[in-house]
């Protein structure tokens, strides 16, 4: 006869202390959640079941920001989806718009001037830098690293201003258009890029000194919430969180979109897939993106990819009639700063879409969060959520 389980040892510490299991709701209005997730426009709520300070079960609740954008756009012309698409992300709205335009161009058979492709590549990288910095700032806020938060938030402002300068307006305004872009770079952009790069390099040094090598911060990050590459792939996790687990999957390298085949950059990967690796991969990606941006600018400046104004599609003929898209289907994915952002477009051959489906990386990250955080500590919830970058525009659509 096997020994009966010890009735004392099989109970959790809380049970032995006589406590009932604590269920804590960390809603999106909770001050901590709002400070961390609100920074990237998150309205995610967490329902946590605790055993002492360990997370026994975690439920991620999404949907509060559901706008029904996929429904809205079915009654509008194809290009009218762009303002909705821009609001999918935080600072990476332009990447989403570019991805949507690429899919639409493939479906409609539109040609794009090489210069527009290089401009789009540049804007993707600027948006990636701004979005990654927002993620790091949210992380710094979550672990209470005040000095780091201040430095990174400053870098984020610099990156957002640079992105705004490249777009000639807000990231939410329409810059990428089917067939090209709305405007070329302003004349003083190169000088502004050089100035911003200098500041962003200082920001990277601050991330290095105040987060990546800071002993107090390491205690909060190393071996926290690891998620192995196999688990990431099974749960649909993509982007820096997947690369942190050691998979070199990056659609900029693997795919054939935009001008990434002609620029020189490294794909940063981690080894354990814990919070430390996620941060280190994001920091290295910011550095790589600065390099890609510089190469794009060089190519745009020497006019080897077309002279100024090529690829700009805002003439009166472009506005004359709505785009008519032949019947068909296209599924296309782009590497956004969060992960693989995909669009499935189905056309009946008319002016309006039959179906626009957006595969949002944050949605899968929200789904995978419990797998990473079960048995982690409650204080690890917000830093991990910040690094997984749950953007409500994407999760909820």
């Amino acid at each position: 006869m096997s020994a009966a389980p010890d009735p004392v040892a099989s109970r959790t510490l809380s049970e032995r202390l006589g406590f009932r299991p604590a269920v804590v709701e960390l809603g999106h209005t909770h001050p901590g959640v709002r400070r961390v997730m609100g920074a990237v426009g998150g309205t995610t709520s967490f329902l946590v079941t605790l055993d002492d300070d360990r997370i026994e079960a975690l439920e991620v609740e999404i949907g509060l920001g559901h706008r029904g954008f996929e429904k809205e756009v079915e009654s509008r012309p194809w290009a009218s989806a762009l303002p909705f698409v821009a609001r999918l992300g935080h600072a990476n709205g332009p990447i989403a718009q570019i991805g949507y335009c690429l899919a639409l161009e493939r479906l409609a058979g539109l040609e794009v001037a090489p210069r527009a492709t290089w401009l789009r590549t540049l804007v993707c990288e600027l948006a990636r830098i701004a979005d990654h910095l927002a993620r790091v700032a949210a992380l710094a806020a979550a672990i209470g690293a005040g000095a780091a938060e201040r430095a990174v938030a400053q870098g984020e402002r610099v990156a957002a201003r640079l992105l705004g300068a490249a777009l000639g307006g807000s990231p939410l305004a329409g810059w990428a258009l089917p067939g090209g872009v709305a405007r070329d770079l302003p004349g003083d952009f190169e000088a502004r890029f050089v100035e911003a790069k200098r500041l962003l390099e200082a920001t990277l040094e601050a991330i290095d000194r105040l987060l990546i090598t800071h002993p107090g911060v390491l205690l909060r990050l190393v071996d926290v919430a690891p998620l192995a590459a196999e688990a990431c792939l099974a749960l649909g996790v993509t982007g820096p969180c997947l690369r942190a687990a050691g998979s070199a999957r990056d659609l900029r390298r693997d795919g054939s979109l935009l001008a990434y085949g002609e620029v020189d950059f490294d794909v940063a990967i981690g080894s354990r897939g814990d919070d430390f690796d996620r941060l280190a991969v994001v920091a290295e990606e910011i550095r790589q993106s600065l390099g890609i941006g510089e190469q794009c600018l060089r190519r745009l400046a020497d006019r080897s990819v077309g002279s100024e104004g090529e690829g700009v599609v805002t003439g009166p003929e472009a506005k004359a009639s709505p785009l008519v898209v032949p019947a068909g289907e296209v599924a296309l994915s782009i590497e956004s700063s969060t992960g693989e952002l995909g669009f499935l477009l189905v056309s009946d051959g008319g002016e309006r879409p039959r179906r626009i489906r957006c595969r949002a990386p944050s949605f899968f990250h929200a789904q995978a969060l419990p797998a990473a955080l079960t048995h982690a500590r409650l204080d690890d919830l917000l830093p991990t959520a910040a690094l997984f970058h749950l953007v409500s525009g994407e999760c909820d659509r």
């Binding site: 949907g63 009654s75 509008r76 012309p77 002993p215 590459a229 054939s256 080894s271 280190a280 599924a331």
Partner: protein
């Protein structure tokens, strides 16, 4: 030029994980490093994969090979054709060069399982699962699976038409865990029931919502009042 893969550097020692909480040790180690000017910044730079120590991280990167196919390869993977022919599936390339299959609802679970388990051909990742309402054209709701074979980068799109009244299909959560929320979303917005799903509840909409709002016959509460100019 192909992009190089670099591994970001972790805190040295490797035992740091086990010493989580040993603040004093960490502080000392950090000071040794940090107080020597110029020593830290090169150490923190990511290093190329080639110089990574043996037994290091890249073991977990099955798709890191240099022979990774870029873009959508046009060739038909061997072995897949047989699977499809047996099941009477209609396959074609769509405009994006992606393999497209159409399957009957009854055959779908078997084919999807075989696709996932087809050895080296295996479509081990479910990238997306969604629904396209074709009721006014073909009288069907189409469930669309977007699968990827991560080793080759090949993608396949599988369309399964369902009858629109009480549409039902086998859940694929057991094949691809990523399908959990995707199927809940399809239930939420299109009203498709996935047999065998562990918790088929509304995901984006409140629990007391009535109707399947992404079906085309569902009229949104207020029609768009402003045409957004192109």
């Amino acid at each position: 030029m192909p992009a190089q893969i670099v591994v970001v550097e972790r805190p040295r020692g490797g035992i740091l994980g086990r010493l989580r909480g040993a603040n004093a040790w960490l502080r000392a180690a950090w000071r040794r490093d940090a107080l020597v000017p110029g020593r830290r910044s090169p150490a923190r730079r990511a290093r190329p994969l080639e110089s990574a120590p043996a037994g290091g991280p890249p073991s977990a990167s099955p798709d890191a090979g240099a022979d990774d196919p870029a873009g959508a390869p046009q060739r038909e993977p061997e072995g897949l054709a047989e699977i499809f022919a047996e099941q009477g599936a209609i396959s074609a390339r769509s405009r994006d060069g992606m393999l497209r299959l159409e399957l009957a609802a009854g055959a779908a679970p078997g084919v999807l399982r075989r696709l996932r388990d087809a050895g080296a051909l295996g479509f081990d990742r479910l990238l997306d699962l969604t629904v396209v309402d074709q009721i006014d054209r073909t009288g069907r709701l189409e469930v669309v699976y977007l699968c990827e074979a991560s080793a080759r980068g090949e993608r396949v799109r599988i369309h399964v038409p369902l009858m629109p009244d009480a549409p039902e299909i086998e859940s694929v959560v057991g094949l691809w865990p990523a399908a959990d929320w995707l199927e809940r979303e399809a239930w939420d917005l299109f009203g498709i029931r996935f047999r065998g799903h562990p918790g088929l509840q509304r995901l984006l909409l409140p629990g007391d919502f009535e109707g399947a709002p992404l079906r085309r016959d569902f009229v949104a509460a207020s029609p768009p009042s402003v045409e957004i100019p192109r």
